[in-house]
């Protein structure tokens, strides 16, 4: 067994002993098993196992899906920069980015299949699509993009030392590789779209003045804000994960200039996002919301959702990290870089939380009560299952595949 294990590993890099590796994955497997049990309950007994209800039609899962997909945007955006804008330095992280993207999207789709009441009918959306629904757009793009990510994943797998020995695989891998720029292009297009549609999902809710936004053509402003924010958060997340992996594995994985570069990209994208987000918010407070009979100030009168949320979203988790990431001197220092990246990711999460949870918590009818919701353990377990799945898949990929090409040179 250890023999096979070592044969599978990439040449010229050192990996933990099988024993250490086993100890590392065991707890995650346990967590996965527990999570799958929770998810199983929801599938077999029905969604009464969750704490969602007719008012909180969406809960933890949708929030997680949105966040995870935003963070997974690193895959397409890095690909875009590398293959389309030819930013060669990013070659160092592209494989890792693809794997992370694949994990995020497949995880989100899995969670969605538990979330819907009749999973067996998932194909209806393709059979009888309602072209006016943002959700249709999301479903189509995400399933296509997931396929793309899968195809992008294949060559990484085929590069594996053992698999290379099959000649036809080698050919296939080579062919695929020539395809990469095309795929990257397709991926970019698809991602731009569904990241946007995910924002549109809420922007079009004319019955929910808190979420509703005016927009251009069929797309509400949230459509564009979501694209921008995802593009900004993606690199930050790649940055964090890369740093995390090298800390855990105790090895340098990329050249020192790569992480700051990712930070810079994220910072550059944050600035326009914050700007547009602020404008959008002002327009919404000033006209969009009042026009539909809801003074914006009152949304923030329902504790705990005070005005602090706006401040946190725009200043603490937006402007602040942007400024840090744009200052070369701060960017160079790991502490600043990492904390800024963390802030960015938190900001995205908060933004997605506001749109999913706060939108539903706020009353609409004059005699509605304000309502709160706490996920049940089954819901939380399902969420943890996704996390565990991600960690495991990444761990195996890292152990047996070349996620960081520079690692070899750096280690010797």
């Amino acid at each position: 067994m250890p023999k096979v294990d070592s044969q599978l590993m990439p040449r010229g890099v050192r990996r933990s002993t099988p024993r250490q590796f086993l100890l590392w994955i065991l707890p995650w497997c346990a967590l996965l098993a527990f999570g799958l049990y929770g998810a199983g309950l929801c599938l077999v007994k029905g969604l009464n196992q969750t704490n969602m209800d007719n008012r909180f039609a969406f809960g933890l899962w949708i929030f997680v899906d949105l966040t995870v997909i935003a963070l997974g945007a690193g895959a397409f955006f890095t690909g875009f920069l590398l293959y389309i804008l030819k930013k060669r330095e990013l070659k160092a992280v592209i494989n890792s980015a693809v794997v992370i993207g694949f994990i995020c999207y497949s995880g989100a789709v899995a969670a969605l299949l538990v979330d819907v009441g009749q999973p067996a009918r998932f194909w209806f959306t393709f059979w009888h699509p309602n072209v006016h629904s943002m959700l249709t757009e999301v479903t189509f793009c995400i399933s296509c993009y997931l396929t793309v990510l899968f195809i992008e994943y294949i060559p990484i797998v085929l590069k594996n030392r053992k698999l290379r020995q099959v000649p036809s695989f080698l050919v296939f891998e080579f062919e695929l590789h020539k395809l990469m720029p095309v795929l990257a292009g397709v991926a970019t297009f698809l991602s731009f779209f569904h990241q946007g549609s995910l924002g549109g999902l809420y922007g079009v809710l004319r019955g929910r003045p808190f979420a509703f936004r005016e927009g251009f053509a069929i797309w509400p402003s949230t459509f564009f804000l979501f694209i921008l924010s995802a593009a900004a958060a993606g690199p930050a997340f790649i940055l964090l994960t890369t740093w995390l992996v090298s800390k855990i594995s105790g090895k340098p994985l990329v050249r020192p200039e790569v992480l700051p570069l990712l930070g810079r990209i994220s910072g550059i994208l944050l600035v326009p996002y914050i700007l547009l987000k602020s404008i959008d918010t002002l327009v919404w407070i000033d006209s969009t919301s009042p026009a539909r009979g809801f003074a914006a100030y009152q949304y923030y009168a329902w504790k705990p959702f005070g005005p602090w949320i706006l401040f946190a979203e725009i200043v603490a988790f937006g402007l602040l990290p942007a400024l840090i990431l744009l200052r070369r001197r701060l960017r160079e220092s790991p502490a600043w870089l990492l904390s800024a990246a963390t802030l960015v990711c938190l900001g995205i999460a908060l933004n997605r939380f506001v749109f999913t949870i706060q939108t539903l918590a706020l009353p609409t009818l004059p005699f509605d009560p304000f309502m709160s919701y706490l996920p049940s353990w089954q819901e939380t377990a399902t969420f943890l299952a996704v996390v565990a799945y991600g960690v495991l898949l990444y761990s195996f990929s890292f152990r047996y595949l070349t996620l960081f090409p520079q690692e070899k040179d750096l280690s010797c």
């Binding site: 009749q118 067996a120 009918r121 194909w123 209806f124």
Partner: protein, 588 residues
């Protein structure tokens, strides 16, 4: 060279590719949708010819006409009978789902003796033995929830044959004695706690006339009726009689408190006016208003025969007590009945469709058919100014081992007649007298009794007989005997019991599981365990909205869930169906 694994793979690959171009995968995929439609365990409705059948509701004294939409013979929904003189085409929420009652839990399914199933003959023998064993001063009593039925006649005949038989009724079974209320001509109603717009008399009749009477509600609780009244006068519990007297004085022109004067003004401006809800003062008030024996007031009807109220039966006097419970009525408080029984060797017989009412305390339980399960009768509709009668034909097939209460008593009396025979006799008697008119449900037409050849058949098809009105000249017992008024608190509040329990909202009646679901989820009726208090009172007692708490009163303690409602009188606790008394509340 043979067929290698590689060949097999190629072949399979080929066929897989080919299959995609056949209907196979797609039609199979479509069938998964069909499977998700016929979700396992989801029942499918029965199909068949849609028929309309008629009956009369016996769940409460209102006597509403019922139109049942049936698939084949099975009722799938109930509705009112348009033009029905008592119900005016209306059914109350309970009545709308009356056909669900048969499927409730807590049904009495077979005769029980001391909790153990027995044959009906054994039960009969046991009860007759107990009756035979009764000494001269140990009375045999039948508690009759609806006196004035043919069944009541059976009871009275049987009891007359015994040394000391008592035919008694629950308190306020006959709220206004021999009198009905001429709602059609009333212009103002002064109600002392009567639920005028919440199931009073025949709801349909009340609402049909609502537009032309002023409604003044005198009640401590902001009840449903209070919220819809033209004027709500909140008074302290027990002070109703005082207020009635004040109004009476104000009618005389004497100056009294502003509320009373205001009320008097409304009453004088809108004549004829009546006062309802009971209490001695209310009787005098009606006398003052001149509402007795006059159009728009209380009119006497012909069919009244007085019965002893259970309260006036001497304590510790009953040796054998037969209690009839109807499908709709809420059971009497047991301690009220217990006081009347001879302590040790008394026998209680429950003639009831339910296991959770008086059956819990009975030595013998004789399961009665559920509403719509057997031919039944509806006597004079509550508050009607003329006598009335209608049959309630069965729409559901009853399970075996059920005995209608009247039938059980007939068999005790060794009478060969069956309950339907008794009903036939009643109808025959109506036909013989030849008075009054009959309203038939299917064609919504009225005809004189004389002109109906086969009255029994007509009645079975759904009909109500209404007597001719008495000439107001011939008023029998011109003094209006009025039921007891709303009770005041037994004791004044004490430091130990600083608050006051107020009975608000009646306890939810036995009802369809569907009805209880809807009331619970909409919060439209307070849950049975709710204690509603003014937010200020609540906070003073260290409670918050939705908290679980314990209410303690001299008569005991019970757990509740606190609801804050600014409509409640400060210092009071509104609880569902509890006697008024001082009490205290604290966190559980």
């Amino acid at each position: 060279m043979g067929f290698t694994r590689r060949d097999l793979l190629t072949f399979t690959g080929g066929s897989a590719a080919g299959l995609m171009f056949t209907p196979v995968p797609w039609s199979l995929l479509r069938d998964t949708a069909v499977l998700s439609e016929n979700w396992p365990g989801v029942p499918q409705p029965l199909h068949g010819e849609i028929r309309t059948r008629y009956s009369t509701c016996t769940l409460c004294p209102a006597g509403c006409g019922v139109r049942a939409r049936c698939v084949g013979d099975r009722p799938v929904s109930l509705a009112g009978v348009s033009g029905h003189p008592a119900s005016r085409g209306v059914l109350c929420p309970t009545g709308l789902v009356g056909h669900h009652l048969a499927f409730c839990r807590d049904r009495a399914a077979e005769p029980l003796a001391n909790g153990r199933p027995v044959a009906i003959e054994r039960a009969l023998a046991g009860v007759s033995a107990a009756i035979a064993a009764c000494g001269a001063r140990e009375s045999v009593a039948i508690l009759d929830p609806r006196p004035g039925r043919a069944a009541s006649l059976v009871y009275r005949r049987f009891l007359a044959g015994l040394p000391s038989g008592v035919h008694c009724a629950p308190p306020n079974a006959e709220p206004y004695g021999a009198f009905g209320i001429d709602l059609e001509n009333t212009r103002a109603i002064l109600s002392f706690g009567a639920p005028v717009l919440d199931g009073w008399l025949s709801p349909g009749r009340v609402l049909a006339n609502r537009s032309h009477f002023q409604l003044i509600q005198v009640e401590p609780a902001y009840s449903r009726t209070a919220s819809l009244a033209d004027l709500w006068v909140p008074v302290l519990p027990g002070s109703e009689d005082g207020f009635a007297a004040a109004v009476a004085r104000a009618l005389e022109g004497e100056t009294s408190d502003t509320h009373a004067t205001e009320v008097a003004r409304i009453l004088l401006r809108n004549k004829p006016a009546i006062a309802v809800g009971g209490g001695a003062a209310v009787a005098t008030l009606n006398a003052k208003l001149g509402s007795v024996g006059r159009p728009g007031g209380f009119l006497p009807r012909r069919d009244f025969t007085p019965v002893t109220g259970i309260a006036s039966v001497p304590d510790r006097s009953i040796g054998v007590l037969l209690i009839e419970e109807t499908a709709g009525g809420e059971p009497l408080p047991w301690d009220l009945l217990r006081r009347k029984l001879i302590p040790q060797d008394s026998v209680v017989v429950a003639l009831t469709p339910w296991l959770d009412g008086c059956a819990r305390h009975a030595d013998y339980v004789i399961p009665a058919p559920m509403y719509l399960e057997s031919l039944d009768e509806a006597p004079t509709p509550a508050g009607s100014t003329v006598a009335g009668f209608s049959l309630s034909p069965a729409l559901l097939t009853a399970p075996p081992k059920l005995t209608p209460p009247a039938e059980f008593v007939l068999r005790l009396a060794h009478d060969s007649a069956t309950y339907p025979d008794i009903l036939k006799q009643r109808v025959a008697a109506i036909k013989k007298d030849g008075r009054g008119t009959v309203f038939t449900y299917p064609d919504a037409k009225s005809a004189r009794v004389r002109d109906i050849p086969d009255l029994w058949k007509a009645m079975l098809g759904g009909a109500v007989w209404l007597d001719e009105p008495l000439h107001s000249g011939t008023v029998r017992g011109a003094d209006l005997q009025v039921c007891a008024g709303p009770p005041g608190p037994a004791l004044p509040p004490t430091p130990e019991y600083p608050l006051l329990l107020i009975a608000a909202d009646n306890p939810p009646p036995h009802g369809s599981p569907l009805m209880s679901k809807l009331y619970r989820e909409s919060g439209l009726r307070r849950p049975a365990n709710a204690a509603t208090v003014h937010p200020k009172t609540g906070r003073d007692q260290g409670l918050e909205d939705g908290a679980r708490a314990i209410v303690t009163s001299p008569s005991g303690k019970f757990p509740v869930q606190v609801i804050f409602d600014a409509a409640v009188m400060p210092g009071a606790i509104e609880v569902v169906g509890q006697a008024i008394s001082p009490a205290s509340i604290r966190r559980a």
